[in-house]
């Protein structure tokens, strides 16, 4: 009888250890396929978008939801892969310290007491990520916030000593393998079998977000001549890009497979959609006073210039300044693309004093084709020296950095198209995948946006789901959309079967009322 009990015990244990098993379990690796691609060592190159930067800062949960990290988790379901590593910052506050001094601000969160007063504001915390605390080891995610195309080839871009002067990048300084290395060199040193490259955004974006404060460095190939807000020459961009891809994917390079991601139109981002060109509320008395102030300019000086043949009728009309009682008066601005008439105005028959002539020299009111950066919202309507007569955007025209004019937009669009042409050609030359992020973000920014299994994703600021609270970078959900598109492209290009990304399970903006 003892024996029988023993058998029962053995039998019972045998069955207990039988966990439920599916016929074709994902865990066992038989469901998906890497196809012709080899994801065993994936390295991502790029800028802030690749790093997982969001809400005006780099913070841990943002990095965890970076599109390369999402992709790596999918790749790991198709084959054996090395761990995907990221140069995680120290906290979820965001911001940077250099030698203990704050050099980058904490993240934006959505503050406010009610939905009516909800607004993005900097989180009230002190950054703890010290740039000079070097991380050891190499990192699969080589996304460096702020990097332009040519920065990936720039020695010393990760030298801590250069951060303070702007010669080096604080984010790369945290994990560069040496003072003189380049981003590309550190990526190549990892011998990636697969890569993604999303670079070039900042080559046009920083010009746009600065309201066109820089210049287009057309035909200038010496990048040391470039200011931070300048547009990279399109041919120089193509040369740099080709060099990057050649070393990663070329016969003489690593011969890795990969996907290139092109450059979205800057005008698709909420950064330029939030602040209207006509945000100025005026009562009847103020509007009247302002109209009186510009009366002589509108009715005598401008027609006079037309009479003299110095301005066309149309340009004169576009330079008129008029206000009305109501909430929707257009801002005034100095448009550098207008002919400067301040010299003429100081001469007969106008004989204006230099200060007034200077004010009117390139003055006009905004039109619906202008764009105002998000960052100018806190500037418009403020007064100069607390003088109620000197209101920025009204009696004091906005300077160049506060308006991206139609001419500036056209330049950005033209250069973006040139970059994308180069990227497409290079993708074809090296037989790489190409993700059209330009088209993707255009459809997100178009009416209604996109819909992922009942989850709407649009470019509406704060509530749209795609863009984080800085109006430029994406939310985890936005990055998931990008990752999903990359998966689609990989599956098509490399006959792979990588699972899709569940966009709806990725979050959007973070709500928190502890704000500055």
């Amino acid at each position: 009888m003892k024996n029988y009990f023993k058998y029962i015990a053995i039998l019972a244990l045998g069955i207990v250890s039988c966990e439920p098993e599916l016929e074709n379990p994902i865990e066992d690796g038989g469901v998906y396929s890497n196809g012709e691609a080899d994801f065993s060592n994936y390295v991502a190159l790029g800028n802030s978008l690749t790093a997982g930067y969001a809400d005006g800062a780099l913070y841990i949960t943002g990095q965890e939801n970076s599109y390369p990290n999402i992709l790596a988790s999918k790749f790991a379901l198709t084959q054996e892969t090395v761990d995907f590593t990221q140069p995680l910052v120290n906290d979820n506050i965001g911001g940077l310290l250099l030698g203990g001094n704050q050099i980058a601000e904490p993240r934006f969160v959505l503050g406010g007491e009610s939905l009516a007063t909800a607004r993005p504001a900097r989180y009230n915390g002190t950054p703890t990520t010290e740039v000079s605390s070097k991380l050891s080891g190499s990192f699969s995610n080589m996304g460096v916030p702020g990097a332009k195309s040519f920065h990936l080839l720039a020695p010393g871009y990760g030298n801590v000593a250069g951060v303070a002067t702007g010669a080096a990048n604080p984010y790369f300084a945290r994990f560069a393998s040496s003072d003189n290395t380049t981003v590309l060199a550190d990526a190549l040193a990892q011998n990636p079998t697969f890569f993604t490259l999303w670079i070039g955004n900042n080559d046009v974006l920083s010009y746009a977000t600065s309201g066109g404060a820089g210049v287009y460095q057309e035909n200038v190939t010496d990048f040391t001549q470039y200011g931070p807000n300048d547009i990279t020459d399109a041919n120089a961009f193509a040369f740099v890009y080709n060099s990057l891809v050649g070393q990663l994917a070329g016969q003489d390079g690593l011969g890795a497979e990969g996907v290139l991601i092109n450059i979205p139109n800057v005008t698709d981002i909420p950064f330029f959609k939030v602040v209207p060109v006509n945000p100025i509320p005026l009562d009847a008395a103020t509007a009247g006073a302002l109209n009186a102030q510009f009366g002589a300019y509108n009715t005598q000086i401008l027609p006079g210039l037309v009479q003299l043949g110095l301005l066309t009728e149309a340009e004169a009309n576009s330079r008129k300044i008029t206000f009305a009682e109501g909430a929707q008066n257009f801002v005034t601005l100095v448009d550098e693309d207008l002919t400067d008439i301040s010299g003429i105005l100081q001469q007969a028959p106008f004989n204006l004093d230099p200060q007034t002539a200077g004010l009117l020299g390139q003055l006009r009111q905004a039109t619906p084709s202008d764009l105002i950066p998000l960052t100018s919202s806190s500037f418009i309507g403020t007064t100069v020296n607390n003088n109620p007569m000197l209101v920025n955007g009204v009696s004091v025209p906005l300077s160049d950095q506060h308006v991206l004019t139609a001419e500036e937009q056209a330049l950005v669009a033209q250069v973006t198209a040139q970059y994308n042409g180069a990227i497409a050609a290079i993708a074809q030359e090296y037989s790489l995948g190409l993700v059209d992020a330009n088209a993707l973000l255009s459809s997100i920014a178009s009416d209604g946006g996109l819909n992922y299994q009942g989850v709407p994703v649009s470019a509406t600021f704060v509530s749209g789901g795609a863009f984080s609270l800085d109006g430029v970078h994406l939310t985890p959900r936005g990055y998931a959309v990008i990752a999903n598109e990359i998966v689609n492209e990989i599956n098509a290009t490399y006959s792979a079967d990588v699972p899709a990304v569940d966009v709806g399970s990725y979050g959007t903006v973070t709500i928190n009322n502890n704000v500055q």
Binding site: I8, V16, L22, T61, I511
Partner: protein, 416 residues
Amino acid sequence: MKKLFLLGLLILAGATTYAGGYRVSLQGQRGLAMGHTGVAVVNNAELAFFNPAGLVFLEDKINAAVGVSAVFSDVVWQNEEFGQSARTDSPVGTPFYAYFSYKLSDKFSVGLAAYTPYGSSVEWEKDWAGSHLINDISLSAIYVQALGSYKITENLSVGGGPIYVSGSVNFNRNLNRTLSDLEGNRANVTVDASGVSAWGWSAGAMWSPIDSLNIGVNYRSEIIVKAEDGDADFENTPDSPLTSFPDTTFDAELPLPAELTIGASYQLNDKWLFAFDYNRTFWGVYESLDVDFAAPGTPDSFNPREYEDSSIYRFGLQYTANDMFTLRAGYYFDESPVQSGYFAPETPRNDSNNFTGGLSVNVTDNVAIDASFLYSKFKEIDESYDYYQENGQNVPFEGTYKSSAFVPGLGVTIKI
């Protein structure tokens, strides 16, 4: 005898048991070993649950049966579209029973019973892909019942009595698929209520038209357990008046559905007994799990379930090997009350084939050890729960599920 024993083991090795929804059919090791039949089997004090009318037919003056089972039950889930997978790591459930009957006269017996016919214990990986539906649940209900059993004629009896239920529930889920605090910790809520009481009853009849044949019927009433002022504890919600989730109390109702059983047993000879039971569980009462939070700003939670009445078909046989050993085996088919599209991962049950077996060892004339086991075999199934809503839109939660359950049990029968 040895051969027979091995045969019993083989049947055992193919076995399974568990019921649809959160019904746990483990109310007696002897009955369970025979496919959880018993409405027409006069065997021991387990009749207090299966059919109190039969208590008066027990030969001895004092009858008692106690036992406990260990429920090893887990579920694995995966979604191939997104490459997501998860499996439960559920704690071992320990449903128990304790029955006692005392024969006051030849015609009348009284009894006491305590048993746990409903319960659930499911623990998914925290923040898994379905965490907006459930992270974990622990549900238990203890039934305590006073019984009378009266013999109307020599071959017809009735029995029954009032049931007192004490229930408790602890349930945790994330508030939705994405909400988290600044550090990325997912916002979640735990609702907890214990000592929730309710009343019900059961009654049965047993008829023995000929000596070798018993026919039984038993009905246990529906009991709605109403949790009032339970604790609702919100964790990791954003620090903002925009998403205010103060800890509060809640009201909720959970039905423990009625069950009707009819069945028969046939004593072929001294050695062999056959039994058949048919259960109808009136799950249709479980339409929705609604949680009403007391705090005015906290949105209530509505979770359609739309269970349907379901049937279980049970077959059992018993072989009395000798004075010492009795062997049992059984099978039942358990129809899930869960309808397609309402497959929620807190009770992910589809139809199951269940195999049981067991034995009794008469240690003395008065004391027997009863052992049983149950193996529930579920088919792999592609299912979804389609009624979770975000922003007014239904967001289905889909995937492939496979459950398993293995339940060994041990009990003691005493007759004096």
